[in-house]
């Protein structure tokens, strides 16, 4: 257990229609049995952090249903534990959230009441598995004011890099420049949108920014204060990405078919926890053909499934063929259906013999509960 550090997760509102129409991005079903937020939450819990605030923006009922008391992460504590913090309209400058400073200002009571010295601030749509203890140690040892987690993304195409906040570091890993989603990135070091700092510093930044009507933690605080603050980078050498588009959602799911990525993200020493559903093991019928796929419990597979990620309770009937697709919880694929490159939200029902074909560059996403 770690009594000196608290966690704050800012749930993210990058829209990915239609799958985020009904839920916050951070609550998206992901990697079969998980939700995106499970990764950040489990990382914090595994580091022994027992006071975690999850700041929400809108559409948060699915997130609350998922997290509830925090039991799966062992965060149902007598003291602190997991706190879901709905937006506080009174504290926003214009009565609406226009940036992450508004979200932080809305939870300032929670931050103020927390007795911990340090805070880890993370966006809720990042995928990574790392040991925060090591990050906190470096933060303290380097006497940094703020430590930013980053990933060296050399080799990644420029267009992809433009999705991230890029940072420039000197050889002592001190941050010398920050650019938010630049069209022509100068470096290949991408921020993971995870920050470590003293809680008191975060409080003063939030207070100062909201008093001036500033809205963005990075553009208005970090960029402007870069000279006065000692901002350092912490390199994460492992896997990381953020889910900010259907393409990145699709790709990050498909990446779980790679053994190395699976082994890293589901490291048994640093488990990823999620809400349990008590579903029975998956049943394979007499004619099932399943290859290179990631399959959760509770499915009934009688057809063919190749290169797919299946959430819990998916039914694939005889003669159906699904390839290169992501199928969320309790969807039903009837007999002789032919699917390729689709992303199905929960409880999609495809009647007999239908054919739906998307493309890798443009997966076909179907909203929750659709019957075709």
């Amino acid at each position: 257990m770690r009594t000196d550090t608290m966690g704050i997760i800012l749930t993210n509102n990058d829209r990915i229609p239609p799958i985020t129409d009904i839920r916050a991005n951070s609550a998206l079903p992901f990697a079969g049995r998980y939700r995106i937020i499970d990764f950040v939450l489990s990382n914090m819990a595994n580091a022994g952090i027992t006071n975690i605030g999850v700041a929400t923006e809108s559409n948060y009922s699915s997130l609350m249903d998922h997290i509830k008391s925090g039991k799966p992460w062992d965060l149902d504590r007598k003291n602190w534990g997991l706190n879901i913090l709905p937006p506080s309209l009174e504290k926003m400058t214009y009565g609406a959230i226009k940036g992450n400073i508004d979200m932080l200002a809305g939870i300032s009571d929670f931050i103020q009441r927390s007795p911990q010295t340090y805070v880890i601030l993370s966006l809720g749509n990042s995928i990574y598995n790392l040991d925060f203890s090591d990050v906190i140690k470096q933060h303290i040892d380097s006497q940094a004011d703020i430590t930013i987690l980053y990933k060296d993304m050399r080799g990644v195409e420029e267009k992809e890099l433009s999705r991230f906040t890029m940072i420039e570091l000197d050889d002592k890993k001190r941050v010398t420049d920050i650019e938010v989603q630049p069209y022509y990135p100068k470096t290949a070091t991408a921020s993971m949108d995870v920050y470590v700092m003293e809680k008191a510093l975060l409080e003063s930044i939030v207070d100062e920014c909201s008093a001036r009507g500033d809205r963005d933690f990075v553009k208005d605080a970090l960029v402007k204060k870069m000279q006065g603050l000692r901002i350092y980078g912490y390199e994460h050498s492992g896997y990381t990405d953020k889910i900010d588009s259907l393409k990145s959602y699709y790709r990050n799911n498909m990446n779980f078919l790679d053994k190395n990525i699976r082994d890293e993200l589901f490291n048994p020493e640093n488990p990823i926890y999620t809400k349990t559903k008590d579903q029975s093991p998956t049943r394979y019928g007499a004619d099932a053909v399943v290859q290179n796929s990631f399959v959760s419990d509770g499915c009934m597979i009688e057809g063919t499934v190749i290169n797919c990620v299946l959430s819990r309770g998916v039914k694939v009937k005889k003669g159906a063929v699904i390839k290169n697709s992501i199928i969320m919880q309790d969807s039903v694929i009837e007999e002789n259906v032919d699917l390729s490159h689709v992303v199905f939200d929960k409880e999609v029902y495809i009647t007999k013999g239908r054919k739906l074909i998307g493309q890798e560059s443009y997966p076909l996403a179907i909203a929750k509960g659709t019957r075709i």
Binding site: A31, R33, R262, D278, Y284, F294, L310
Partner: protein, 401 residues
């Protein structure tokens, strides 16, 4: 304290010696079953679905793993402030110190636990049966009849009736006679070892039984016959549905195989009656490009690149390319290399089967691993055992770690 309508007591102390190496280090109720469960998940889940929120689990033999598994009862929603699940091992007191002498004595030694809840009725269950049953309906029948005890019975094939405790009942279902393993059964209604007693009657009979030096302190042998002899009103509660005593290697294997028919003889995928279990926090299972899985169940955390036919695969199992598993049960975390063949086997948790090994394929008259407990040519590999690459484990073997 609010009195409880019904408190359940699960008898979980038995060694289960007929399960051989499977119960060397764990009590029978902690033996894995059905891909992600332990045997005790069934009575515990039945209790919760039946509205019974206070459960005592009486442990004695190798209780460590069972204790840890039950923990605070949260997986079964039994982490209650008023009630919940309690593990009850034998204990020393100022007057006595003794092990549980029999099923009745185990409950007798815990009368003070029951007294704390002041229940109207007590449900006695075994920790070694696989079934889904609504105890609430049985309790309702018990209360409506005003009986001192209600015993769950189920019809068994006549030719097998002499293996069971048989209840002879009248037209209203009142029990008139109980015969333990009768040579010539008069009825085919077998006792399922599930009893509801009115608490006052239970207390009285257990206390009397304790003072009888000739008693075996057993419900079936002593308490039930004594109550019948004294003319207490006892009724039968008829259960129709899947029920299986998994006390032997063969019956445990059979009960697992019963999950694989289409439709299954026993359906675990029942959203209205989920069987709860302690979750292992494992990722979905991965099925590789060389895999072929048919008529089987596979659980989260597995890595499967071989062939699986008509088998039950528990969480975290690895199966290498070219290996074939048929008609078998593979318990959590077992690692099977490449090109191995496994047939008609129960592979214990965390066992390691080397590349090219053969398990249950060939038979030999001169088999040093042969065991009487492995009937019907089944093979049992104990949890944690290592089978070397290329080794040949003959049919009917039991291999210890």
């Amino acid at each position: 304290m609010v009195s409880k309508d019904c408190v359940a007591m699960i008898l979980a102390g038995g060694q289960g010696s007929r399960l051989g190496a499977l119960t060397k280090n764990v009590a029978k109720p902690a033996v894995p079953f059905g891909g992600k469960y332990r045997i005790i998940d069934f009575p515990l889940s039945n209790c919760v679905h039946s509205g019974i929120d206070t459960v005592g689990v009486l442990t004695q033999y190798q209780p460590l793993e069972l204790n840890r598994y039950i923990g605070n009862g949260n997986p079964w929603d039994l982490d209650r402030s008023h009630g919940g699940v309690y593990v009850l091992p034998p204990y020393q007191s100022a007057q006595t110190e003794e092990w549980y002498k029999g099923t009745a004595n185990a409950i007798y030694q815990n009368l003070s636990f029951l007294e704390g809840f002041n229940p109207d009725n007590v449900l006695i269950l075994s920790g070694d049966h696989i079934y889904k049953m609504h105890y609430g309906e049985m309790l309702k029948a018990h209360k409506e009849s005003g009986a001192a005890a209600t015993i769950a019975v189920m019809p068994v094939p006549w030719e097998e009736a002499s293996r069971f405790g048989i209840m002879n009942v009248d037209d209203e279902g009142t029990i008139v006679e109980f015969e333990e393993k009768p040579k010539e059964p008069k009825s085919n209604l077998a006792s399922m070892g599930i009893y509801i007693f009115s608490y006052d009657a239970l207390k009285r009979y257990l206390t009397d039984d304790e003072h009888d030096p000739n008693s075996d302190n057993d419900f079936g042998k002593n308490i039930i016959p004594k109550m019948l002899g004294n003319g207490e009103k006892m009724i039968s509660y008829r259960f129709e549905g899947y029920w299986k005593d998994v006390g032997t290697i063969q019956s445990l294997w059979e009960a697992n195989m019963d999950l694989l028919d289409e439709p299954p003889k026993f359906d675990l995928n029942d959203r209205h009656w989920s069987i709860y279990s302690r979750n292992m926090a494992l990722a979905p299972h991965y099925v590789g490009s060389n895999a072929k899985i048919t008529s089987s169940t596979v659980t989260e955390g597995c890595y499967i690149d071989g062939e699986i036919e008509h088998s039950v695969i528990f969480g975290g199992v690895e199966l290498g390319e070219g290996s074939v598993i048929k008609d078998s049960v593979v318990m959590p975390g077992a690692k099977i290399g490449k090109n191995a063949v496994i047939q008609n086997a129960v592979i214990g948790a965390e066992a390691v089967i080397g590349d090219g090994a053969k398990v249950g394929v060939n038979s030999s008259a001169d088999n040093k691993n042969a065991s009487k407990l492995c009937t019907n040519d089944l093979v049992l590999i104990e949890g944690g055992a290592h089978i070397a690459a290329g080794e040949d484990i003959y049919t009917g073997s039991m291999v210890e770690a």
